[in-house]
Symmetry: C2
Subunit: 232 residues, 2 copies
Amino acid sequence: MQAYTGTNVSRLPAAAAIVSGGTAAMPRRFDIVTTKLGGAPRNLTKGEELFAEGDAADFFYKVVSGTVRTYKLLSDGRRQIDEFHLSGDIFGLETSHDHRFSAEAVDDATIVAFRRRRFETLAHDDPALGDQVMSSMLCSLERAHDHMMLLGRKTAREKIATFLLNMARRISNDDRFDLPMQRSDIADHLGLTIETVSRTLTQLARDGLIKLAATSRTVVLCDKAALRRLNA
Amino acid sequence: MQAYTGTNVSRLPAAAAIVSGGTAAMPRRFDIVTTKLGGAPRNLTKGEELFAEGDAADFFYKVVSGTVRTYKLLSDGRRQIDEFHLSGDIFGLETSHDHRFSAEAVDDATIVAFRRRRFETLAHDDPALGDQVMSSMLCSLERAHDHMMLLGRKTAREKIATFLLNMARRISNDDRFDLPMQRSDIADHLGLTIETVSRTLTQLARDGLIKLAATSRTVVLCDKAALRRLNA
DNA sequence: CGCAGAGTTGATTATACTCAAATCCAGTGG
DNA sequence: CCACTGGATTTGAGTATAATCAACTCTGCG
């Protein structure tokens, strides 16, 4: 927990191991920690379910590549996607015994699973490990709160603008990027319908704020200033 | 962090002190811990601001009595109330140096402030203390996620039903309770307008699911089963 | 080439918003 | 005790934003 302990996450070996996933390029001890936590890479095919709401939360996960969506369903099938987890993101760590979300691969993705019990044991010996996860959760909380503002008070145009700016920042440093998810995912994330998502994107393109490639998954942000004005 | 460490919060002395606020009825050591954390009771009058978005987050708080709202504003004044904090709730603990919310008293309220820095020091010696706050944050995260579903995918009628059931549970064990906040607060919490809140409450009363007293702050849940059906 | 899934576009509608006015209520002062 | 005031709430009328229903287009792929 970066701010709470005053420690810098980047200086914490255990934390760094979780964040990076313990690649071959890293010092030996980082790999040991990762291995201890039981990081076993797993490939998911597009649409594959990783866990469902109510499943035992024995593991939590880190995205190595690809994208994972976590979501909740209402009894009649309405869906709210709370977050898209991109490469490097940690997700699925729960307060309770069960998962409160379902998780599926948005596209073909690779994830690493960490055994929660083992992590808990280690965290007691190494507070820095707990700090790191705490930090991750606090980021999640922060994004959740911003997203509440979006869902509760922003217009469709503002929602799309905010979404595009966030994805641009997370996916690439460039203003050109490929959205990994389809329109229905965006809709269920922003509290809209696919038609409204499509229309709004078209409208933003018509107004010159963005460009949509033929495949329509590729987006170019042309007028970030205007998008930012819509963002708040 | 209850689930994460596997420890039961109720068995943790430091945690218990934070939760309870260290009343006179509690064993001496609890009071000592609370005092160490710098709990200085403070009275807030209706509408008084406790802190604003962007203020330094040197303290966090626990509600002793009354109700506090935390919220964010868009540049044009649109407001999203993320949570109403009732007696016993902890709020205002941040990941960053600054508060990401503003906080105001909904009615006359009493709160206890805890110095964050001091808490951090103690948390390092006593992991249980950190666990407790972690647990508090995870509850907050859980509620935030449920609230995203509400904001993104529920109808006005469903939002109000969910809100009433939640408030009933939190305020009293009874089906009759007084709402501490006014319609505009409810509206900004549920992503509605005051008119829609009012109309929806009237409609629910007309349909016999609830009763509204003359003062219209007092609510009676008549048909909880029907309300629950609207809830999910 | 045709099919299926994804995405776009169009027409219409519904839900919730906006603007406006009336009512209710607590508090205040004559 | 009662009229007056101002804030909160309710109610009404009309509207707008986004949803719904439906058709059509595009793209990738067997």
